[in-house]
């Protein structure tokens, strides 16, 4: 089932001194439960493309259709609500709320969606257990390692059962062992939860584990390999 479609998407930054075609006529489709990596050299437009897919930025032209809805037709407030309900985010720098515990960070978005306490507790426990942090639920981020924090961030991204998860360089700040553990967990959750994962990455390990690898150069898709 198609969860995301990009049609002739362009993003041009047109300043007084610079003119950058960051995303150039990209057309892509993502199916349910895909585990896809967007790769390419620095400045190839990976992060810009993820921002466009995540509704954090608007394309200069083209359409981004998520679950049948065109993002460009949504108002700012509708877009925020749309993101909350449909997209999970994992950031390079983890970006957990430092004053909240792992459990509170994970259930934050469920709170925004007004889930009941019982539902929240069950889902939080299920996810933190799945990322191997069932015993660190009440730890604050400062008491967790980088790898553990990123695992909490993955649990948070999946908490409200989004259509897909966008992960911008999720392993960039992790050591090799932590990165491998994280990727295994994400692959497992991708399989179990049937949620599409889209990464931007330089990390060969991520590329190796991805089921699909999209290569960008100068904002254009130069290859799109789907592996069996």
């Amino acid at each position: 089932m198609k969860v995301l479609e990009l049609k002739n998407v362009n993003k041009i930054y047109d300043g007084s001194e610079v003119h950058v075609h960051a995303v150039n006529n990209v057309t892509l489709e993502f199916q349910e439960a895909e585990f896809a990596a967007i790769v390419g050299p620095s400045g190839s437009g990976k992060t810009t493309l993820l921002n466009l897919i995540g509704g954090l930025d608007m394309p200069t032209s083209g359409k981004i259709i998520i679950d049948g809805s065109d993002l460009s037709g949504l108002k700012s407030s509708q877009l925020i609500d749309f993101r909350m309900r449909n997209i999970g985010f994992v950031f390079q720098a983890y970006n957990l709320i430092p004053v909240l515990t792992a459990k509170e960070n994970v259930e934050f978005i469920m709170n925004l969606q007004k889930w009941s306490r019982k539902e929240r507790d069950e889902r939080t426990f299920e996810l933190l257990k799945a990322v191997g942090l069932g015993d660190r639920m009440n730890s604050r981020p400062s008491k967790l390692s980088g790898g553990q924090q990123q695992r909490v961030a993955v649990a948070r991204a999946l908490a409200s059962r989004p259509k897909f998860v966008l992960a911008d360089e999720p392993t960039a700040n992790l050591d090799s062992k932590s990165a491998t553990t994280l990727l295994e967990i994400m692959e497992k959750l991708n399989h179990e939860e049937k949620i599409t994962f889209i990464f931007s990455t330089h990390d060969a390990r991520v590329v190796k584990m991805a089921h699909r690898v999209i290569t960008l150069e100068d904002g254009s898709v130069v290859s799109d390999d789907i592996r069996e």
Partner: protein, 475 residues
């Protein structure tokens, strides 16, 4: 979750938050204490004015006040007293005879208003009988073959019927009040010497003591050295109803002290029958009716009722007799609100500064929150709540300190004895008992919340303007 996060965020940078909280605490504490102090001062002035000076309503014959014509009188035969006295809401009514004249002793004269009263009836309206300075006599209690007059402390000083003396009894009293021995030694030089007036006494004491000793103990020494010349006499001179000059010698019945120099200098009280006899006034006639009412809120209604029932009389209530008092009591809460508002406005700048730093420091986090779906209303609420929490914590602590300080100082009052002369010249007691109402704390709480919200608006708007994609990349 927004509340919980905002609360936890307050304590993210403990020291910075505590500095803001401390500044709010000090501001609110100072504000509450200052307001309680002003409130106590005004309440005391109000009580003194009503209980000792003017009561609630005064009635005179038409244009008596305008012309000051002693011939304009009311008569008991008109049944005014029982008729007005029976109106609902009135708790007491007395008649008075008023004559303008001169009070004189061998050395001094002063213009006075001689008020003819029925002492026992007056006690139903006024508490002047409770203000007699011990040792100066009483409130027309004792029998005397002489005509008696009750005068104020300031008139007694004006007429030189007091004296100042430092004797062994005074030195013992001062010692008991913890006046240092070295000061007592200095004062013992003038022991037994009598000073006929305050000026001469002050001049000698000033030459004996240092400035700091005078500042600390000057008023106390003056208070203890002051004594009334017993069995003093004075002459009251005035015109009778036939415009003939009448002079009569009065013994001082007692000296009252109501901490209002203007009143004390002018108002001399004598028995009504004595004044009527001397001034040739029919005892059934009188110049003034003074009324006390049960409920202050009924002042205007009762005044209007009397005015409409007796259109031939001049009726004035306390608000009209002392407009300054009315203004103070009517607008006092607005003034206190404004006062606290100014303090909180000053504090708001500190809170705004802190909240701006908060937004700047958490740019990436705020970007992340917007990215994952926290809408603008929630982001705004979170920052606003954080600001309100900061203000409220400081406010509540400040209120507790303020309340405790009022509680402690109200027990014994705060005595500004060194400024007594100046304050009493305006009718204010120098011994102030701060007081505050519960409703004022509610007002402050509301003001603090408003301040917290107002202080958060600009920082919160800055947070709302953040571009999440850019904010997330902020280092």
């Amino acid at each position: 979750m927004i509340w919980k996060t905002a609360w936890k965020n307050v304590w993210r940078n403990r020291i910075r938050s505590l500095v803001v909280i401390a500044s709010v605490t000090v501001g609110i504490f100072a504000g509450i204490f200052a307001v309680a102090f002003m409130n106590g001062m005004i309440a005391q002035r109000f009580d003194a004015a009503i209980d000792e000076e003017i009561s609630h309503i005064q009635i005179t014959g038409k244009d008596y006040v305008l012309n000051n014509d002693p011939q304009i009188m009311m008569s008991r035969e008109d049944n005014i007293i029982p008729s007005i006295g029976s109106l609902s809401g009135i708790s007491g009514i007395v008649q008075r005879t008023l004559v303008t004249g001169m009070a004189g002793t061998a050395s001094k004269n002063a213009g006075v208003q001689i008020v003819g009263i029925a002492p026992e009836k007056e006690k139903e309206i006024f508490t002047l009988h409770k203000t007699i300075i011990p040792g100066t006599g009483d409130y027309f209690e004792r029998e005397s073959k002489f005509d008696l007059a009750l005068i104020g402390q300031d008139l007694a000083k004006e007429l030189n019927i007091i004296r100042f003396v430092i004797d062994s009894a005074v030195l013992i009293k001062l010692e008991n009040q913890k006046v240092p021995a070295e000061i007592l030694t200095k004062l013992s030089v003038i022991s037994g010497k009598r000073f006929p007036n305050e000026k001469k006494f002050t001049s000698v004491v000033t030459s004996l003591l240092s400035k700091s000793e005078l500042r600390e103990y000057g008023q106390l020494i003056k208070k203890e050295a002051w004594s009334f010349r017993e069995n003093s006499r004075m002459t009251l001179t005035f015109l009778d109803m036939d415009n003939n000059q009448v002079s009569s010698v009065f013994r001082i019945a007692g000296v009252y002290d109501i901490k209002n120099a203007m009143f004390e200098q002018v108002q001399v009280f004598v028995r009504n029958d004595v004044l009527c006899r001397l001034a040739g006034i029919d005892e059934n006639s009188f110049h003034q009716l003074v009324i006390r009412i049960n409920d202050l809120n009924q002042t205007v209604a009762i005044t209007d009722e009397i005015r409409s029932g007796w259109p031939g009389l001049d009726v004035r209530n306390w608000k009209e007799l002392q407009p300054d008092l009315a203004m103070m009591t009517d607008y006092v809460h607005q003034i206190y609100g404004l006062f606290m508002g100014i303090i909180l406005a000053a504090l708001a700048f500190g809170i705004i500064n802190t909240m701006l730093m908060v937004v700047l420091e958490r740019t990436r986090e705020l970007g992340m929150l917007t990215a994952i779906g926290m809408n603008k209303r929630r982001v705004f609420s979170m920052i606003m709540l954080e600001s309100v929490f900061l203000s409220l914590i400081g406010g509540v602590v400040g209120m507790i300190f303020g309340w405790l300080s009022v509680l402690l100082s109200a027990k014994n009052g705060i005595n500004f004895a060194q400024y007594a002369e100046g304050m009493e010249a305006f009718g204010y007691s120098a011994h102030i008992f701060p007081e505050i109402t519960f409703s004022f704390f509610i007002l402050i709480t509301i003001l603090i919340i408003i301040t917290g919200i107002a202080s958060s608006v600009y920082p919160a708007l800055k947070a709302l303007r953040l571009d999440p994609a850019e904010a997330i990349r902020t280092e």
